[in-house]
Amino acid sequence: MKKAFLAVLGLHLFFAAVYAGEVPSRIVSLAPNLTEILFAMGLGDRVVGVTSFCDYPEEAKRRQKVGGMSNPSIEAVVSLKPDLVVVTTDGNPMEFEGRLRSLKIKTYVFRSRRLQELPQGVRGMGAALGVKERGDALAEMMEHTIRRLGIKNPPERKRRLLFIVWPEPLIVAGTGTVIDDAITLLGGENIAAGAKGTYPKYSVEEILHNSPDVILIGKGQGHEDMEKVSKRLLDRLKNVSAVRNGKVFFVSDLLYRLGPRTCRGIEEMAGYIGK
């Protein structure tokens, strides 16, 4: 029994050592946030393939594209001869990951979806990719920012927020999103928290009823003029306290991606909530 245990332990340590010691030299990333984490951990020059949505950092745009997040091309991935493909449970089909493994391609599955899980996810990814120190350092930086921004003593009356992802049809950030986590972290209250779904199609009537103190509108991928698109919605919300008091802000897309820039997104949001 003892022998068997030792053998298993030995085997485990051996594999762990081999795996952790070896930094993969050809990595394919199947999600924009994973691409950002890879670049932030200094593995950018080893990334050989990315999705068509990976646009940050600038250099990532010059990597070979393997398709979208929900429909990457298996041929494109295989032809890049990767020794590791990083996938996320948040947006990549898991059958695709199984398919890769059946083709004897190593995968790393990133499972963090929420803000609190981010540092741990980065740590795990750093360790698995053989850059433990860099992963730890990045994770610590994130933990530090999250601790620093987190509200220690929640105020008596919480600021009531609404984060609008798209005005027509009205889609907002609900529970289970990084945006909702950030609002909670900053001591605010997401008025859409009760709605079903992570990005629910929300009712305009509810906004009028709940009259949020601050409305944040995500600027999205950048090719839309959000102020123009939101004009009609904001006209209809003219009696909501956020609109009346000029507390409608257009914010960057930093919080849409769970990665190294998420913390900057929280900082940006903290600035608007404080205003």
């Binding site: 049809p169 509810e206 009028l208 999205g220 123009k228």
Partner: protein, 320 residues
């Protein structure tokens, strides 16, 4: 017959009224506060008006089309008008076009619908007239073409853009406001007037072109006029709030069970019932899982289809 039509009218008024006052929160118009009044006048009222208009347009054009195409399976979407509208609206949504502010997408949809209607009309035109079979086949062909183009665009764009486009296509009444209603009203009422005015001719057309001719109608001319009226109503309805299934196809059949196949009654009754059904569907779509809203098009089909199947089982035939 007049009595039944009046009953339908009463039902429409009831549906309209309840869609104004009921919902995730009930509004009492006599004791309401500032917010309640605002919700009533600037959110629910335009929304219910749009639902009524769209339902009216779809119900009436369904009845007319089943007549001119002599086909019980015809509906306003079979002519490809809606796929043309969806395609151009989806392109606008996915590309984030905002040239005309919030008018952009409805305008794009309308242009797409009118162009498609024009192409179908041209394809259906042969030897100095519109032919039902040609219209039908041209519509189906164009529908396929546009749907595949739509899928093509969707498969190469971001998930978020696709979701927005899908929500729009499935019918979104939530952003209805007063600004689009006058345009919708003009197109839809004129379409409705034309089709009711030519209802007698439609009755004759259903019996066959020679028969219609012998009764003193010009079949090709009548078909052309009715086709224009359907085009007006469908285009306006799609650009007001996307595609709402079921109403155009099945409401005329349901109405036929009650008042028979005379188009002079059938067209107005289908219009009224379509409006009623869409009002109720919209009310349900925002009351079932508040504050999340469901697409109204899904709700119409969910409540309408079982009732239709029940009638089919219970009553006799599906005559056009």
């Amino acid at each position: 017959m007049k009595l039944r039509l009046s009953i339908f009218c009463v039902l429409l008024v009831l549906a309209f009224g309840s869609s104004l006052l009921l919902g995730s929160r009930v509004i009492n118009p006599f004791t309401t506060n500032e917010t309640g009044r605002e919700i009533l006048f600037s959110i629910r009222a335009p929304r219910s008006v749009v639902a009524t208009l769209m339902g009216t347009a779809l119900g009436a054009s369904g009845a007319v089309l089943q007549g001119i195409l002599r086909n019980p399976l015809a509906d306003p979407y079979i002519l490809g008008i809606s796929s043309g509208a969806s395609l151009s609206a989806a392109v606008g949504i996915i590309m984030g076009l905002t040239m005309f502010g919030s008018f952009t997408i409805p305008l794009l949809a309308f242009i797409g619908a009118v162009i498609t209607g024009g192409i179908v009309g041209m394809m259906g035109w042969k030897r100095g007239g519109l032919w039902p079979e040609r219209l039908l086949l041209a519509g189906i062909g164009l529908s396929f073409l546009f749907s595949s183009l739509l899928m093509l665009i969707m498969s190469v764009s971001t998930d978020e853009g696709v979701r927005r486009a899908i929500l729009w296509i499935f019918g979104d009444l939530s952003m209805s406001d007063w600004s689009l209603i006058p345009y919708g009203l003009v197109f839809i009422t004129s379409g409705l007037f034309i089709s009711i005015a030519r209802a007698k001719a439609l009755n004759a057309l259903i019996l066959g072109d020679e028969f219609a001719y012998s009764l003193g109608f010009m079949p090709h001319l009548e078909r052309f006029i009715l086709f224009i009226s359907v085009g007006l109503m469908t285009s306006a309805s799609v650009s007001l709030g996307g595609m709402i299934g079921f109403i155009g196809l099945l409401v005329p059949h349901i109405v036929r069970f009650f008042i028979g196949a005379d188009n002079r009654m059938l067209i107005p009754a289908s219009a009224i019932c379509g409006g009623t059904l869409l009002c109720i569907a919209d009310l349900l779509s925002r009351s079932v899982a508040p504050p999340t809203e469901l697409p109204a098009g899904i709700v119409t089909a969910l409540i309408g289809s079982p009732y239709f199947l029940y009638l089919l089982r219970k009553k006799d035939v599906l005559g056009v």
